[in-house]
């Protein structure tokens, strides 16, 4: 299988600390790859190495099957990127900002109008970027990344600092890229919910190490929400549920069940009520990425 992005034992060391440690990324064509990890896990460092902004301490990066070390310019011609906060020149207009990139990547002027329209900034084209909202700056960054019709788009925390409507808009924009233009997208985030709605493949990095890399379905199974029942007698409820044939865990003063399907929850609650238990709360608890990380790293240690 040919991968658009492939890293081998990618490592970056700052002093004694390994910010990225033996990371192996495999991204097939046309995927939206969600690159997850808490802050400081090594996401941005990895992405910087993918773009040739940083040199790996050891290991290699192959994009489009070519070694980045020896083919940096040829490879970067096919890659668009937005790293961390958007970079722009505040004293220039949106149009001039794109022009500064267009001259380097050498595409026709008409393309600038196209990308501005794509991110719905055509009306602000001649305004200075200084006065833009964060969402507009972020969109301008995406427009700049798409200017030279890249085959691979690398976005580092593209929804950071955006308001909910901005996030939804960004998500819509990113989702259509693989279908419409055949672009492979790498998108990093520290929010599982964020990636969950876009990504087709997920990689999780923690403390510089890749601890999970699989399809989003596999990730969802791990991240599944659970229902917590607060009841008068957790132990008895636990027993009753086992008799009913439902797996359950006892928490401090509640019982947790793994299923979230509406009918199942309803019938379980009905069953418990019929058994004479008092139910105070039925709560859904979504597991935070943090918890999943903890579990994943725990599993890692056990193995």
């Amino acid at each position: 299988m040919e991968y658009i992005v492939e890293t081998n034992q990618l490592t970056k060391q700052f002093g004694k600390e390994k910010a990225v440690d033996g990371v192996e990324i495999r991204i097939p064509k046309g995927e939206i790859y969600g690159f997850l990890g808490p802050n400081g896990a090594g996401k941005t460092t990895t992405i910087r190495m993918l773009l040739g902004l940083m040199r790996p301490s050891s290991g290699s990066v192959h994009l489009f099957g070519k070694d980045l070390k020896n083919n940096r310019i040829a490879i970067l011609k096919r890659v668009g990127s937005l790293v961390e906060n958007p970079s722009y020149y505040p004293h220039l207009t949106a149009y001039e900002n794109l022009e500064a990139i267009r001259k380097i990547v050498d595409v026709p002027r008409a393309r600038m109008k196209e990308v501005l329209k794509l991110v719905r900034l055509q009306d602000a084209a001649n305004k200075k970027v200084k006065g833009f909202s964060l969402g507009m700056k972020q969109r301008l960054g995406i427009a700049a990344a798409l200017l030279h019709q890249p085959e691979l788009l690398i976005l580092d925390e593209p929804t950071n600092g955006l308001d909910p409507s901005g996030i939804i808009e960004m998500r819509k924009l990113i989702k259509q890229l693989p279908e419409k233009y055949g672009i492979t997208v790498v998108i990093s985030s520290h929010l599982l919910s964020e990636v969950d709605q876009m990504a087709t493949t997920v990689g999780v990095i923690s403390k510089g190490k890749m601890i999970f890399q699989d399809s989003i379905e596999a990730m969802r199974r791990i991240a599944q929400a659970s229902i917590h029942l607060r009841v008068n007698d957790p132990k008895a409820v636990h027993q009753a549920l086992l008799v009913y044939g439902q797996k359950a865990d006892i928490k401090e003063n509640s019982v947790a069940i793994q299923t979230t399907a509406d009918e199942e929850v309803a019938s379980i609650v009905q069953y418990l009520v019929e058994q004479g238990f008092a139910i105070y709360r039925v709560e859904e608890e979504k597991r935070s990425l943090e918890n999943i990380f903890l579990e994943m790293t725990k599993e890692e240690q056990i193995r």
Binding site: R48, L51, G52, L53, M54, R55, R72, I73, A74, L76, K77, V79, S81, V83, E84, N85, P86, S87, Y88, Y89, P90, H91, L92, E96, E99, A100, I101, K103, I104, V105, D106, A144
Partner: protein, 236 residues
């Protein structure tokens, strides 16, 4: 590619006042002499018979100071444009060679300084004409004292550009810049091998050309060191 990068660099300095500085520098240097000659022309004329020589000497007393100050301000301005939103990471992630990015910055500032020097040449000549300094116009000397300081200050440009591009803390190039200006101001007390003395065109052999030639050679060397270091470094 380098021409396209250069065009981009000139686009980026729009509305930032860099061109204004380019013009103000040489105008300021000659304007000082306008004051000098406006106030005490008769006294100055009474000191010597070679009025052109004296006039060129007066103008060129401030040229090194202006050019070094110009280098410090232009390089740190240029760096601040890229640093402001950390545009370096966007620029270097484009299909460009880092060497060419550095060369383009060096070339852009050299262009601005050269334009400054040409303006100085024209201003020196035309204001000199209005003073009635005599029939024998020393064209060669006017050209020498306007353009040679530019070449002689290339090592300082190399150094300041290097510091301004690789230091994330702009206090470092600024501090070195302040020291540079002080050195340029006290050029006459410095030994010949100190690069900050060179723009004064003063040396023990009385050969202004020597400073220009040394400037080009040393400027090239420092430029190559700076470029190699810039290429080697990770982009923050």
């Amino acid at each position: 590619m380098i021409l396209r990068l250069l065009a981009v660099d000139f686009l980026k300095i729009r509305r930032k006042g860099l061109w204004l500085l380019t013009f103000i520098g040489p105008i300021g240097v000659v304007a000082l002499q306008m004051v000098n000659y406006g106030v005490r022309k008769d006294y100055l004329f009474s000191l010597t018979d070679d009025h052109w020589q004296q006039y060129i000497g007066n103008v060129s007393a401030f040229t090194p100071l202006a050019i070094i100050l110009g280098i410090v301000i232009l390089t740190s301005f240029m760096a601040s444009i890229e640093d402001e939103t950390n545009a370096w990471k966007q620029l270097i992630a484009l299909p460009v060679s880092k060497r060419e990015v550095y060369l383009s910055k060096f070339t852009m500032i050299s262009c601005l300084l050269f334009v400054s020097s040409i303006i100085l040449l024209l201003m020196t000549y035309f204001y000199g004409l209005t003073l009635g300094l005599g029939e024998d116009i020393p064209y060669l000397q006017i050209i020498q004292y306007s353009l040679l300081p530019f070449f002689a200050s290339l090592p300082v440009l190399g150094l300041q550009l290097w510091l301004a591009t690789v230091c994330t803390n702009q206090a470092i190039p600024t501090t070195v810049g302040v020291i540079s200006v002080i050195f340029a101001y006290s050029a006459m007390y410095l030994p010949d091998w100190v690069i900050w003395k060179w723009p004064s065109l003063d040396n023990q052999w009385d050969q202004p050309y020597l400073n220009g030639l040394m400037g080009i050679a040393m400027g090239l060397a420092i430029y190559l060191i700076g470029m190699t270091d810039f290429k080697r470094r990770d982009v923050k």
